[in-house]
């Protein structure tokens, strides 16, 4: 990493770029401050109680999930694996988003459960609630580390400071920004960063393509490179999964990534589900993730393609360097795939556009880390500390406690940033985390939703054993007992976690007593009346273009077409 501090690898930002950067943060913090002072809390409209049209919640939904980790991680993936990375969008996100909209949202919206820990508490009771709270808090800290590390690598390229100084400086910046701007600023930032990133990436992609000779030129160059021609087609993606067999690779992608990891991520994700919950009606709530699925389909083109271009056009990442990195060694240039996007920006963007690109990335990491910190803070303070450790204190106590926890969480994130920095490709790190935390959660969640007999004891024991199974797979692949390059280890881990969780839950349920049916109304599918789950078709929800199921069908068809073409 230290090699990157060399002057020739620096981003050549000048005064104009810094002014554009300053403008952004002045605007966000200023708006946050004014919104807090001048307007009543109802203007914090992403959180306001069910009053928003679908386009606002849809906008918030898209922005909340198109964060910087995705931009950097997916371009790193693009440089390393090529087109198969698109599976993260077309297999790994869109179907799950549609499922969330059509099947889960009516249920969430109708039952008025606000968060996943709250669902766990009401469906299973305190044991499961506590296990879920702890694993959620842990996951947030580990993901915050990835955000912090990426933020630091931008600071490192900009200013040339060593990575450990950059990490600490970046942490200090995030903390002071959170304190200065408050929640309103964080939410405006979350939406704005998305538009700034698109404004920077779209031209970068087009010019990059132009430079390498158009799409055909890119295909020729990537095919001739170390990754070979299979990097320009999305299927079967053997390099991504690490399987030699095409069939196993496809199964791994569809079941591991497409089903367990992505359904687990999308249907239980706290932050995003909350955005949809702010919608005006059940129909609008259902449309929120479906509207989000449309831009999601096309995001791969502005993040993966720049990564692929970097893999052939950036000196530090192409040829012998890419070959060494693919073999799991250090590249002679000292760069890693995580640097793909930054290096391409350095090569192509003039001052001005460079400033906008830097702003977009910095804002996105801030938004991502601020979201991690605040969800950690909420869950740790209210779901763990207040529920199980110090009950019945005045509100002021928990407020102060929450502030202290934010500082502690930032310090812990500095630690996890160094774990994240050991991965040459951050998506490997993140998929690993999702296999530990999201896959078992999804299994417990879905089983508890559709099987009314599932008992409270099965809830927590399923979660614990599912996570243990994923950790075991991780240890086996890491220690080399079970060789699995690529992200196949995470896919297998997710599959194992899911299966073990289901098996243990069923076994425990058979041996223990279920909750009485009266306590499960609105929490279990079969016990929830149908009219509570059906969206309205009148008034502001009328018209075919507002029909959630039809919209979902259109999205699905486009996704299938994309899969066939690429």
């Amino acid at each position: 990493m230290t090699v990157l501090a060399d002057a020739n690898l620096r981003l050549d930002a000048n005064a104009v770029d810094y002014v554009l950067l300053g403008t952004y943060f002045a605007l966000v913090i200023g708006i946050g401050y004014l919104a807090r002072r001048r307007v009543s809390t109802s203007l914090d409209f992403f959180l306001s109680g069910r009053s928003l049209p679908a386009w606002v919640t849809g906008l918030a939904f898209i922005s909340a999930n198109l964060g910087a980790i995705e931009v950097m991680g997916m371009s790193a993936n693009g440089a390393q694996y090529g087109m198969p990375t698109a599976h993260y969008f077309w297999v790994g996100a869109v179907p799950a988003m549609l499922f969330l909209g059509v099947v889960m949202m009516p249920f969430y919206y109708g039952s008025k459960v606000r968060s996943v820990p709250e669902f766990m508490l009401r469906r299973f009771g305190p044991g499961t609630h506590l296990v879920n709270g702890i694993s959620f808090a842990l996951a947030q800290i580990l993901i915050a580390g990835a955000n912090l590390f990426l933020l630091a690598s931008v600071v490192n390229l900009l200013l040339g400071w060593p990575i450990w100084v950059s990490v600490i400086v970046a942490a200090a910046i995030v903390l002071s920004y959170t304190a200065l701007g408050g929640l309103s600023a964080a939410i405006y930032n979350e939406v704005l960063q998305f538009f700034v990133i698109v404004a920077a990436l779209l031209p970068l992609t087009l010019v990059g393509l132009y430079k390498v000779g158009g799409w055909q030129g890119l295909v020729d160059k990537v095919s001739a490179g170390p990754g070979g021609p299979e990097q320009v087609d999305s299927w079967p993606g053997n390099q991504l999964t690490g399987f030699d067999s095409n069939l196993l690779s496809v199964i791994g992608l569809v079941f591991g990534l497409g089903f367990v990891l992505s359904f687990g991520y999308w249907t239980t994700n706290f932050v995003e589900v909350q955005r949809a919950m702010a919608a005006k009606s059940m129909s609008a709530g259902m449309r929120t993730p479906i509207i989000g699925a449309f831009p999601k389909m096309f995001v791969p083109f502005i993040v993966i393609i720049p990564g692929m271009i970097a893999g052939v056009a950036v000196t530090e990442l192409s040829g012998a360097n890419k070959e060494a990195l693919l073999a799991g060694e250090e590249a002679p240039s000292g760069a890693t795939f995580n640097n793909a996007l930054l290096l391409l920006m350095r090569d192509l963007l003039p001052n001005g556009m460079l400033g906008i690109a830097i702003t977009g990335l910095l804002a996105a990491f801030m938004a991502g880390m601020a979201a991690n910190l605040s969800s950690f803070n909420t869950v740790f303070t209210y779901d763990i500390w207040q529920s199980y450790i110090r009950k019945d204190r005045p509100d002021g106590y928990y407020l102060r406690f929450g502030r202290i926890m934010t500082v502690i969480a930032t310090v812990l994130a500095i630690g996890t940033a160094f774990i994240a920095s050991t991965y040459a490709n951050l998506m490997d790190y993140l998929q690993q985390l999702f296999s530990f935390f999201n896959a078992p959660l999804f299994a417990t969640f879905i089983l508890g939703l559709f099987w009314r007999r599932m008992s409270p004891a099965a809830g927590w024991s399923g979660l614990v054993s599912g996570t243990a199974a994923a950790v075991l797979v991780f240890v086996l692949t890491e220690s080399g007992v079970w060789a699995m390059p690529g992200q196949g280890g995470a896919f297998v881990g997710a599959g194992a976690a899911f299966v073990v969780d289901i098996v243990v839950s069923i076994a425990v349920t058979v041996a223990t007593r279920p909750k009485p049916a009266a306590e499960l109304v609105g929490l279990v599918y079969s016990l929830t009346p149908k009219e509570d789950r059906t969206p309205s078709r009148t008034g502001e929800d009328a018209g075919w273009y507002r029909n959630p199921t039809l919209l979902a069908g259109i999205a699905l068809v486009i996704t299938i077409v994309l899969n066939i073409v690429f």
Partner: protein, 95 residues
């Protein structure tokens, strides 16, 4: 689920005005578009244009951003967002 379709619910709303997210997007992207367009026309050195394969990225991206900002401003103007007004300061929003 408070009733939001009734006439009484209607009178308790007001325009989001300057805090409408679309207007803020239009403002930010508009300023960025203006700055990069100006840079692209007068201040981007030929060496930088050569580096990006002869394309004047600042100019084209700047114009694109100005168009996008215009569309968002138009949308805000044509379909203003109404948000509910709370009766009392500090009251929690209804379920």
């Amino acid at each position: 689920m408070t009733s939001s379709g009734t006439p009484a619910g209607r009178s308790r709303t007001r325009r989001a005005g300057a805090f409408d997210i679309r207007l803020i997007i239009a403002l930010l992207i508009g300023v960025y578009g203006l700055v990069t367009t100006v840079l692209g026309i007068w201040f981007t050195p030929d060496s930088e244009i050569d580096r990006s394969a002869g394309v004047n990225i600042n100019l084209w991206a700047g114009l694109g951003m100005l168009v996008l900002a215009g569309l968002f401003a138009l949308w805000t103007w044509l379909r203003p967002l109404r948000v509910p007004v709370e009766e009392e300061e500090g009251e929690q929003p209804a379920e």
